[in-house]
Each structure stands twice: as C-alpha cells, then as structure tokens.
C-alpha cells in the first residue's frame, strides 16, 4: 500500500511540475504582459517556482519510499 500511495504521489508531483512549467513559461508570454501586466507576470513566476519546489520535495519523498519502503517512519 505504501508503494502504491508513493506512486500516486509521484504522479501528482509530475502533474504539478507540468503546471509549474506552464506558470513559469506563461509569465513571459506577450498576452500575460499586455493583458495582465507585471504583477501578474511576477505572480505566475513566483507561483510556478514555488509549485516546482514543493512538487520536487514530494517527488523526492515518494522516490525515497519506493527505494526503501521501510524507511518512512512507522
């Protein structure tokens, strides 16, 4: 069960990495700059970066469990 949950977590993290990528890349496209301005661009960039960091942290935890299921406490 622990492995299954870790795989699901890994998939969720991967999905969030894609979202982070879209946030960051869209911070630099013309439409965002013209329609929403600098604050929206900065928000997209910051939001994307934070999502990427948290997604990587979850992915690392998932991989740790997949490599050694008994390593997680309990």
């Amino acid at each position: 069960m622990k492995r299954l949950v870790a795989i699901l977590a890994l998939l969720w993290a991967a999905l969030n990495v894609v979202i982070a990528y879209l946030f960051v890349t869209n911070a630099f496209v013309a439409k965002t700059a013209i329609k929403e301005g600098l604050p929206a661009q900065a928000a997209l960039l910051l939001g994307g970066a934070l999502i990427a960091v948290f997604a990587v942290a979850l992915a690392r935890q998932s991989l740790r469990i997949l490599r050694a299921p008994g390593a997680a406490e309990g």
Partner: protein
C-alpha cells in the same frame, strides 16, 4: 440534543438539499432556460451553494453532538473519528476535482493565444475535444464538495469545542519554536532570527498534533480555505447580485492566489504525511498504534542538535501520545 432529533435534522438537511438540487437541475434541463451550458452551470452552482453549505453544517452539528467512539483498543489509539476520516476524504475528492479544473480554466485562457507557451499547444490539442463547460461543471462539483467540507468541519469544531489544532493563547512563541526545530535547520534558523526564537530551549512533547501542524500547517490551511471560500462565493454571487467591478476583479485575482496556495498545501501535506506513514494510516482507519504515533511525535519533537536527548521518556504513562479530536 437527542439522537432522534439529530437524525431528524440530518435527514431534513439531506431532503432539503436533494429537493434543492432536483429543482435546480430540473430548471436547467427544462429547455426553457435561455442560457448556454456554461452559463446554465453557473446558475445551477449558485443555486446549489446554500444547500451544500447547509448540508455540511447540519452534518457537522450531527457529528459534534453525537456518539463518542472508543478512544483506545489495546495498543491502538483513536486519532480520528469515522466522521472526520470520511469528511477528510470528501474534501480530498473535492480538491482532486476542483484544483486541476480550476487551473485549466486559468491557464487555458493564457494558453489559447496566437503563440502559446512551448508545450501549451500540445495541451490545448489534447483537451480540445472536451467542451469548456465540462471543466466548469467539474470545477463546481469539486467546489461543492469543498464547501460542504468547510461547513461540516467548521460546525463540528465550533460546537464540540475541540481546539487541538489551534495554538493555545500565549503559546505562539513556543509552537513557532517547535516548528522552527522541525523544519531543516537552514529554514529554522532563518525563521528564528527575525522572530527572536530561542532554539536552545527544551520543548514539551507536542500532542496530539505536531508543532508543524499547529504553528504552520493548520493556520495556512485555514487561511487558504477561507480565502478560496469567500472569493468563490463572491464570484458565484454575481449571477444573482450586482457585485461591483473592482470587488469582482479582486475576488477573481485572490481566488487564483488561493488556488495556488491550495496547490502548495496539498503538495506539502502529501509530502509530510507520506513521510510519517502512521499519520496516513490513521486518516484511513481512524486508529494508530501508540508505539507508531510515539515514534512519529518523538522524531518530530526532536529538540535539535542542542538537546539530543528524547523529549518523551520511555517510562511515560500510556496515553501520553493520546488521540486527537474524535
């Protein structure tokens, strides 16, 4: 409140919610409405909102005044009541539906430009066969689950006066210190310096929740959920009440900000509980073995390199790592 009365309240709540949902859907499907599917869904959602909130409040009140399950079974401690476990997973379903569909609504608008960001066209092509109103429809269904959960837990905690997840009055400094000691030292030191936290002090054993949960996780969940609920309600209200433009603009902006916060919260919550498997088990079974919970709390409550000794003596009486809200 008697058992019969409480059951009557819940049954009445379910009946009213079902009737409200039926009437709303019947109106939408009558063919007499002039709106397209997307706008029609907006109206259905807006009309269903009071019923979702009301049903959640009734269920929360029912749980708060009701049956108190056993708190100990051998070495097993009840950490969560069945109602809390079910409520948690209802909220989870809500997030799993509402977050991706909400993100698609937001990103779809940006992606659908003449020259989308790299990879954007791929996603647009992938989801092209799915009508946009389906994303809104699913988002509203997920949001209804989340709103039900907010009302359910709000009413439950309000009535049963369980404050285990709140930092007690005058103890913020203690809990922030515990939190600073739980996170990696680099972050803990950065948090401690501006707040002048003493990381060398001996901390009491956290219970029933860790300092991370009380000082950081629960307050940020509360903030993000309150923000997305208020802004979401304002956005939905515009179909029945003229919301001023600037208010609507800020409600929409903050709704997106709350969505990003919740994306981060889900990731962080998943990471935290995955690393502490007994907590994950407790949220499915309600029960956790005392030894496993003790190990989780001991590890989390490490006093840092300044005090390497464990905070919970091996001779501590049974139940010291007791259950949480029930």
């Amino acid at each position: 409140m008697g058992v019969a009365v409480r059951w009557l309240l819940v049954l009445a709540g379910i009946a009213i919610a079902a009737a409200g949902g039926y009437v709303s859907l019947a109106q939408a499907g009558s063919g007499a409405q002039p709106w397209d599917p997307e706008l029609s869904d907006n109206f259905v959602f807006m009309r269903a909102l009071p019923f979702a909130l009301g049903l959640g409040a009734v269920v929360g009140l029912f749980r708060a005044g009701g049956w108190k399950p056993a708190v100990r079974r051998g070495d097993q401690i009840r950490r969560f009541s069945p109602g809390t476990v079910i409520g948690h997973w209802i909220a989870t379903i809500g997030f799993v539906i509402a977050l991706p569909t909400g993100l698609w609504q937001y990103l779809g608008g940006i992606l659908s430009q003449d020259v989308p960001a790299p990879g954007g066209q791929l996603l647009l092509d992938l989801f092209h066969p799915v009508p946009l109103y389906w994303f809104y429809r699913l988002h509203y269904i997920g949001a209804a689950f989340v709103l039900f959960s907010v009302a359910n837990f709000g009413a439950y905690w309000w009535v049963n006066r369980d404050r285990a997840l709140l930092v007690p009055r005058g103890e913020w400094r203690l809990h922030l210190t515990g939190f600073a000691l739980e996170v990696p030292r680099m972050f803990g030191a950065r948090l401690a310096a501006p707040l002048k936290l003493d990381l060398t002090q001996r901390l009491p054993q956290p219970r029933p929740f860790t300092y991370y949960e009380t000082a950081f996780s629960f307050p940020t969940w509360t903030f993000a959920l309150a923000l997305i609920t208020i802004t979401g309600l304002l956005k939905a209200m515009r179909y029945i009440y003229p919301i001023p433009g600037p208010v609507l603009y800020w409600a929409s902006t903050l709704h997106v900000a709350a969505m990003v916060l919740l994306v981060l919260k889900v990731l962080d919550h998943f990471r935290y509980t995955l690393a502490r498997w007994p907590l994950m088990v407790a949220m499915t079974r309600g029960w956790v073995s005392e030894g496993a919970l003790r190990r989780v709390l001991d590890t989390i409550a490490r006093p840092g390199p300044w005090h390497p000794e464990p905070t919970l003596p091996a001779t501590a009486p049974a139940g010291v790592a007791g259950g949480s809200e029930r």
